[in-house]
């Protein structure tokens, strides 16, 4: 198999144990976390959002390819639109927040992140959860009348710490093969 033909499964279903029911305290705290996270990003509180990222972060948005339906579960490649760890995410945040030349987001986009369809599973590690959520993102910039949109499923590993939840891993499964927005100067 070649590097390209090789695909990865990013849903990590084998790591999911008992599903945490909707409405339980754990489920609600994770839902609250995802809403807070979206709010921070939408309001460009990027440094505060960065504090939610674990030191051992793995943040990836793999490239998607269209395949025959028999390979529908093998549409994600090894290369990504994001392929980040904690350091590289901090560098991105620093560029966007400490300089006055980050033109891809100056003027800033107006972004809304709609998070839904949240599923939570326990894992083999106490206080760590596998979380799947749907993301619908609208991005408007300058005087554009229309929106650049994006939909995705995110598979997260969330870790409860004394400071609340941290994101240890986020795999962003995009629905688009050819992205309709000109860059990812925003976080997903």
């Amino acid at each position: 198999m070649s590097v390209t033909v090789d695909t990865n499964i990013y849903s990590r279903e084998e790591q999911r144990r008992d599903e945490v029911p909707y409405g339980t305290a754990v489920y609600n705290s994770i839902m609250t976390f995802l809403i807070k996270e979206a709010r921070l990003l939408d309001h460009r509180k990027l440094v505060e959002w960065g504090e939610l990222l674990a030191q051992d972060l793995e943040y990836k948005a793999p490239v998607r390819v269209t395949r025959r339906v028999q390979q529908f579960d093998q549409e994600f490649g090894t290369m990504g639109h994001f392929d980040d760890d904690h350091n590289s995410m901090m560098l991105r945040i620093s560029r966007l927040t400490t300089t006055t030349n980050a033109w891809s987001e100056d003027p800033a986009s107006r972004v809304r992140r709609f998070v839904s369809n949240v599923s939570v599973w326990e894992t083999d590690v106490a206080d760590e959860y596998e979380v799947s959520s749907y993301l619908l993102l609208t991005r408007n910039r300058a005087e554009a009348k229309d929106y650049k949109q994006l939909s995705a499923e995110r598979n997260d590993r969330l870790r409860m710490t004394k400071d609340g939840f941290h994101i240890a891993r986020r795999s962003i499964m995009l629905d688009q093969v050819v992205l309709g927005m000109p860059n990812f100067a925003i976080f997903l």
Partner: protein, 459 residues
């Protein structure tokens, strides 16, 4: 400006977009629909286009679907072991034969009426053979998928619809001597690090095309943020002198271009000042993409003249006319060491106001696996969709294109009047046009001259 569709006026009409004497290009060239149609015919159906790499399709039957201009093609490895490029259009009723981006198939069968083709494009037959549903007028040999001419170079798949035009070698001319230092420098060669990123950008393809021809100047301003956070080296208070190596050697030939950054500048940015001879530095600080383990191969494969260039000022960024952008750059890796990112973009037009930007990441096959993974991450954080460098570029090109929509805006011109002039250093090979010093507009203007030449060539 609308082009006069009458052929005898066409060359003249194209020339009206480009003021050769004053080195200016009409902004209308970023908008004009007729000019765009002519570009598809005269550039994208004529030029050698890079559409992938043979490591994407290692096995017989492997294929990827790519663009050549607005035409989809199937890039496949056939039973003969060779890479074939065929138009993804069924000769029967124009249905796309291949509907996936990649996969493996010994037979490509059109889902509409079942006409079937081999990976080399040849026609196998239509269902119900005895009824001869492919017709009684044309032979099977005449009913294959349209074939492009293919040439591999360093594993890169180049294709053109111009079956009588220059060979790839002639097309690259003197610049091949320099491209060899990037694409054809080790025994095993390059490999892709995964399927390419694809983005649709609301801009005319030439905004990214002309920039690829060594626009070093925009780095200081558009990429100021990257300099600010120290990701491009240089002292903060002297950034405009030292970072990111604004002085260097630009090369240009046939519209192709490369920008060479003095190795001592890169060395100083990474390690501080040091008194090394060029040969010692090549040893201690190989060019981007060459790990220490690959140095012996590099030395064996390159000529003495090429090694001299690599030691003095290796090519690191640039383009290949008309639509390829190259970044073979040093980049910090996540383990804290200085490594590199090897990146190629192709810019495929999708109408006058849109193009598809495809980004490939590479490593030499002989690179340790863990380093490949770090190189891929480094390339992703610097370039392409989310790259902290290039996300500013993809923001700029749409603005330029939008400017061209205004009837007054399109009376403005793109100006290439900062001129360094050819000034080859005595110890530099006498190959291609050489511009040493602060990078100016010379190579980009050569890109437009190549564009003009192809657009006004006799069909």
């Amino acid at each position: 400006m609308r082009l006069n569709p009458r052929k005898e006026f066409m060359a003249e009409a194209v020339s009206q977009f480009i003021d050769i004497e004053n080195r200016e290009v009409s902004v209308a060239a970023l908008h004009d629909h007729d000019l765009y149609e002519l570009e598809l015919e005269r550039i994208f159906a004529k030029a050698w286009l890079m559409i992938g790499h043979d490591t994407e399709i290692p096995n017989v039957g492997d294929y990827v679907v790519r663009l050549m201009g607005e035409d989809q093609v199937i890039v496949a490895r056939a039973a003969d072991g060779q890479v074939h490029v065929s138009l993804n259009v069924c000769p029967h009723r124009a249905m796309h034969v291949c509907l996936a981006d990649s996969g493996n198939a010994r037979v490509h069968k059109c889902i509409y009426h079942g006409w079937a083709f081999r990976p080399d494009g040849s026609f196998i037959g239509a269902p119900i053979e005895k009824e001869q549903m492919h017709g009684i007028i044309k032979s099977k040999a005449q009913l294959g998928l349209k074939k492009a001419r293919v040439q591999l170079y360093g594993g890169l798949v180049f294709a053109t619809w111009d079956h009588e035009g220059p060979s790839l070698e002639d097309w690259l001319g003197d610049m091949k001597f320099y491209y060899d230092m990037l694409f054809d420098r080790t025994e095993k060669g390059l490999e892709v690090l995964g399927p390419p990123q694809r983005i649709s950008i609301d801009a005319n393809w030439k905004t990214a095309g002309e920039q690829s021809a060594c626009d070093g100047f925009h780095t200081l301003t558009l990429h100021g943020s990257v300099i600010d956070i120290g990701a491009m080296g240089g002292e903060h208070d002297t950034e405009h002198e030292s970072a990111p190596a604004m002085y260097g050697i630009n090369l240009s030939g046939n519209g192709h271009s490369l920008r060479c950054i003095a190795a001592d500048t890169s060395w100083a940015l990474a390690h501080g000042k040091g008194d090394l001879t060029p040969e010692e530095r090549l040893e201690a600080f190989p060019p981007p993409g060459i790990t220490p383990g690959l140095l012996p191969e590099l030395k064996k494969k390159m000529s003495a003249e090429q090694l001299h260039v690599l030691a003095k000022a290796p090519p690191v960024v640039g383009g290949m006319f008309p639509n390829m952008n190259i970044l073979f750059i040093y980049s910090p890796l996540r383990d804290g060491t200085l490594g590199s990112a090897l990146v190629l973009h192709s810019i495929m037009p999708k109408g006058p106001h849109q193009f598809e930007w495809t980004t490939y990441y590479f490593a030499e096959k002989g690179t340790p696996e863990d380093v490949k993974v770090m190189m891929r991450a480094a390339a992703t954080s610097g370039t392409g969709t989310s790259g902290i460098i290039e996300q500013d570029d993809s923001d700029t090109w749409p603005h330029m294109t939008e400017s061209a929509r205004g009837v007054i805006g399109r009376t403005e011109t793109l100006k290439y009047q900062a001129i360094l002039g050819e000034n080859r250093p005595a110890d530099w090979p006498n190959k291609a046009k050489v511009y040493e010093g602060f990078g100016k507009d010379d190579a980009q203007w050569e890109w437009w001259l190549a564009y003009h030449k192809l657009m006004t060539a006799e069909a």
